[in-house]
């Protein structure tokens, strides 16, 4: 058992990394419950920053806008993405490989480039900045994630099941609705949650596309931080991080991420 020391060292290392990943987040959440405006210690428990948050209409409006955009993105990207995944799974056709490769640029190209390009294009066609532009951008960024996640689930589906249903007289819509969709439901839910997370956490593209004074929550936080930060931002940031981590926990449950269930 010479290995014991190494294993122990490894586990300590893993613990240190988890500390590195979570400590700053916990510190921030902690500070949102601290009365001092200048993050002074000793810690003095107070809910006043959350109360202030409740009265800050600018932040509340931005939060509402962010949630609505994220919900719309989720619905549109999930429907379009699932449809595309079904076609990519069921049919063999020329150019299929090309269509699959087309999914990578939105994921791989830095959002700074995509965002500025969208700004130029939407101005060029007369749409300009604003919520519609933000929504169009978010759906495009979320679509590849939905297609990848749903396709991964479809890969575990046995196509002979569809054939069997068809041979018993079911038309193709019935086959899809009664056989295929139930099988891939967990993949679709995971894809939808990914889409929500991509939109709700999106900063760069929203930053270039939203109208000043009409921005999403991350954009508002960015401009506030640059003006000098207050614990009010800690309060809203804590809420955001709790929401997005909860969404991702659900997504992980449904997408069977990181192991068999």
């Amino acid at each position: 058992m010479k290995n014991t020391y190494l294993v122990w060292a490894g586990k300590v290392w893993l613990g240190l990394i988890l500390f590195f990943l979570y400590a700053p987040i916990i510190v921030m959440a902690f500070m949102s419950f601290n009365a001092s405006q200048y993050y002074q210690l000793p810690f003095d428990f107070s809910l006043k920053w959350y109360e202030k948050l409740g009265q800050n209409t600018e932040i509340l409006n931005a939060a509402t806008r962010s949630i609505l955009i994220a919900l719309a993105t989720t619905v549109i990207a999930t429907i379009l993405g699932t449809a595309a995944s079904l076609a990519l799974f069921r049919f063999e056709f020329r150019g299929k490989r090309f269509l699959q490769v087309m999914l990578f640029p939105p994921i791989a190209i830095p959002w700074l480039i995509t965002g500025t390009a969208m700004l130029i294009f939407f101005y060029g066609v007369g749409l300009g900045r604003g919520t519609p532009s933000v929504l169009i951008g978010h759906v495009a960024l979320a679509l590849p994630y939905v297609i990848v996640v749903v396709s991964a689930r479809l890969a575990t589906f046995d196509p002979t099941l569809e054939e069997a249903a068809r041979s018993m007289g079911a038309d193709s819509w019935t086959v899809t609705r009664r056989v295929t969709l139930p099988w891939i439901a967990s993949g679709i839910i995971a894809g939808a949650l990914f889409a929500f997370a991509v939109s709700f956490d999106q900063f760069v593209v929203s930053y270039f596309l939203s109208e000043p004074g009409d921005s999403t929550l991350p954009v508002l936080i960015y401009t506030s931080i640059r003006k000098g930060f207050t614990p009010e931002i800690n309060a809203i940031s804590t809420i955001i991080i709790v929401i997005s981590m909860a969404v991702m926990l659900f997504a992980a449950r449904f997408s069977n991420f990181g192991g068999e269930r």
């Binding site: 990394i17 993405g81 495009a140 936080i221 960015y222 931080i225 981590m245 991702m248």
Partner: protein, 287 residues
């Protein structure tokens, strides 16, 4: 009969695929083309502005050394963050994949990649609170250490590197973990039974087999870091001028969109060269 079927199929394929791909075209590929076009204009062609075709936006990059220097600075930042993340993340992935088993492994793995899916801006803001002078890090260190230390990392390059490593570390852990998990334990046992020591096993068996995953993680970190602007702005302050922040300025402060478009395209070219170089490894990592 078969032509009818073929036509029916084609109709289904088109109706299922076109909404998604038209959306991607309108929101991603047309904008990228529009940006390429813009980068060759002298001014934005809106309203009654005078404009003509020109290559001076690209010349600006090559004539003054400012932009090239900043691009190099961004590439160096990308390399630093990538190397640190790989050195820190690979052992962590190894422990997860080989030393921990069962339910606790799943839970720990989820715990490692969870922050990655939470808001990146908020996480950078967390570091701003921790790192600033008289901040939590300073107070914490002074509480533990017997002597007074003065830690004000805020608005420095180390602060930017720490924030970016925190943002992207889960990537390399994720890809390395998936690659390491695929390595058969019997292979390692076989090497050991034939007398290979730990270093030899690591060097000759584990590293070569997990290299595609490691490389994939490295690329996934390097590419966004080269294009980062929000992290240097918040954590770097005055020293946080990078290629990304210059591009941001062209669009939100200076309003020289054609120059911004040209700089964005130069950045895109760098990214594409890197992705193309790494793509054989990336493809192997996928399968």
């Amino acid at each position: 009969m078969s032509t009818v079927l073929a036509r029916q199929n084609r109709l289904k394929i088109v109706s299922l695929l076109s909404p998604a791909y038209i959306w991607l075209t309108v929101a991603i590929f047309l904008p990228l083309s529009a940006m390429l076009y813009f980068s060759f204009l002298s001014d934005v062609p809106f309203g009654d502005a005078e404009w003509h075709y020109t290559s001076e936006n690209y010349q600006a990059f090559f004539q003054t050394s400012t932009y090239a220097t900043l691009l190099w600075k961004s590439i160096k930042l990308g390399l630093t963050v990538t190397v640190i993340s790989v050195l820190v993340g690979f052992p962590c992935a190894y422990v997860l994949a080989k030393a921990i088993k069962g339910k606790s492994r799943e839970a720990l793995f989820l715990l490692v990649i969870l922050p990655f899916w939470s808001n990146s801006l908020v996480r950078i803001f967390c570091w701003a609170i921790v790192l600033r002078g008289n901040g939590v890090l300073e107070l914490g260190l002074n509480a533990i250490l017997p002597f007074e230390v003065d830690v004000n990392l805020m608005f420095s390059t180390p602060a930017i590197v720490i924030g970016l490593v925190h943002s992207y570390l889960p990537y390399v852990i994720l890809t390395s973990y998936l690659a390491l998990q695929a390595i058969d334990d019997n292979l390692i046992d076989a090497a050991r039974s034939m007398g290979a020591n730990k270093l030899t096993i690591l060097w000759r068996v584990i590293l070569p087999l997990s290299l595609p995953g490691l490389l994939a993680g490295a690329v996934l970190i390097f590419v966004p870091v080269v294009g980062s602007f929000m992290e240097p702005r918040i954590l770097g302050g005055r020293v946080g001028t990078y290629f990304g922040t210059v591009i941001e300025d062209q669009f939100v402060a200076v309003f020289n969109w054609p120059l911004g478009a040209a700089l964005s395209f130069i950045l895109l070219a760098v990214v594409l060269v890197i992705l193309a170089t790494a793509s054989p490894a990336l493809r192997r990592a996928q399968t």
